[in-house]
């Protein structure tokens, strides 16, 4: 099963929940017939999960895109490429055709449309994927090259690299999405079986939870569930929303300085406070049941 963990708001505890859930599941299966548990960190702008999991990386893969290169001798300065480029990455000036890599979306349109065949393509690295493992947990993440604007292609490639078209039965993939609700988050949800929404009991948590929930209902027909992190005073606003939208609250982690300190030094919650292991096992069970029922609860 593929579970995407998202929140809208940054800093609510997405990575905390994703890492601890993945860690707990991978150790749960020790006694059973082994099927892989993967944690995939899709927050390619600021991948943090590795700081808590300490994986040993075994393989790397560059994320490359084809960018145009213009043969100035063959170029007649006709400007067709300038006209077709939707991103203004090309200009014809002083008998030369200029190319601005940072604006390019690697769509290939200029190459196809050049009447002289003067544009070829060259591979450029826009990101890096790494995979490995930590103890029983398999891990992968992607890193966006600074200067390249879009995280989405890196996330796409990361998922393709790790998740097979027909995933093994009983294998589990937990995707830690980036904050927000735009394209990269949509890409992290694509193909998932469950949306685990992490929130905090504040107006900010609620505001962003509502945005992500809307995204799920609009674009994906997968069951959602809520985890309230930093729970305690203020839970009512989340409970009210959850009840209105018929999204179950599956777990709560209390607001606690001790937990914050464990997080600060990079210790997994279930290592610092083993009593939470049971809660993550329960969470996993509930999610599995909801996926089996296969109905988005509205």
């Amino acid at each position: 099963m593929i579970i995407t963990v998202a929140s809208g708001k940054g800093g609510t505890g997405k990575t905390t929940i994703a890492t601890n859930l993945a860690w707990t599941i991978s150790h749960m299966q020790e006694a059973e017939k082994k099927s892989p548990t993967w944690l995939i960190d899709c927050d390619v702008e600021e991948p943090n999960a590795a700081l808590f999991i300490h994986p040993t990386f075994e393989k790397e893969k560059k994320v490359e895109r084809q960018l145009p290169i213009i043969n100035q001798d063959q170029c007649t300065g006709c400007g067709v490429c300038v006209d077709v480029c939707e991103y203004n990455a090309l200009a014809v000036a002083g008998g030369k055709t200029l190319f601005f890599k940072e604006l390019c979306h690697a769509c290939g349109s200029c190459v196809l449309n050049c009447p002289e065949g003067a544009i070829h393509e060259i591979s450029e690295t826009i990101g890096l994927l790494q995979r490995g493992s930590s103890d029983l947990l398999k891990f992968a993440h992607g890193i966006l090259e600074i200067g390249w604007s879009s995280p989405t292609p890196i996330i796409r490639d990361l998922k393709k690299w790790i998740i097979p078209k027909q995933p093994q039965v009983n294998s589990t993939y937990i995707l830690d999405a980036s904050p927000g609700t735009t394209c990269p988050v949509v890409e992290s949800f694509r193909g998932a079986d469950f949306a685990l929404l992490v929130t905090e009991p504040t107006p900010f948590g609620l505001h962003d939870l509502a945005l992500v929930a809307e995204l799920i209902f609009k674009e994906f027909k997968i069951p959602p569930g809520i985890v309230i992190n930093k729970s305690g005073r203020g839970d009512e606003i989340i409970e009210k929303f959850a009840s209105e939208k018929k999204i179950p609250i599956l777990m709560r982690v209390p607001l606690s300085r001790d937990i914050a300190e464990a997080y600060a030094r990079g210790t997994l919650l279930v290592d610092a406070f083993p009593k939470y292991k049971g809660q993550f096992i329960d969470l996993h069970k509930k999610i599995s049941e909801m996926i089996r029922e296969r109905q988005p609860k509205r």
């Binding site: 203004n88 990455a89 200009a91 002083g94 200029l98 601005f100 604006l103």
Partner: protein
Amino acid sequence: MHIAITLADNKGLESSISSVFARCPFYILIDPKTKIFTIEENPAQNASGGAGVKAAQWMIDKEATAVITGNLGPKAHDVLSSANMPAFKSQGGNIEETLKAYNEKELESFFEPNVDAHSGIQK
């Protein structure tokens, strides 16, 4: 022979000059001697990205002989300098004053893109 100047509005020769190159709403193309002019909407103002490139390309295609604006980003600068298009920094004032300064060669040329230079906060 006409030069391009970035405008903040369209009030004919009374228009205000804009310091923004790529996303100002209008451009005037004006003959600095005869003052014959046209004002056109800037096609780059709503570009998702690369507005500077698009605006510079437009001026080249319109065969402007020079550009006067407040700030020029690095990409726009590259395009204009590749085309050997002279570009000058406006000094404020209105169109008439700017043309006078241009004709008397008082305007500073853009050597380097100047939008990197932030007015700064002391450390």
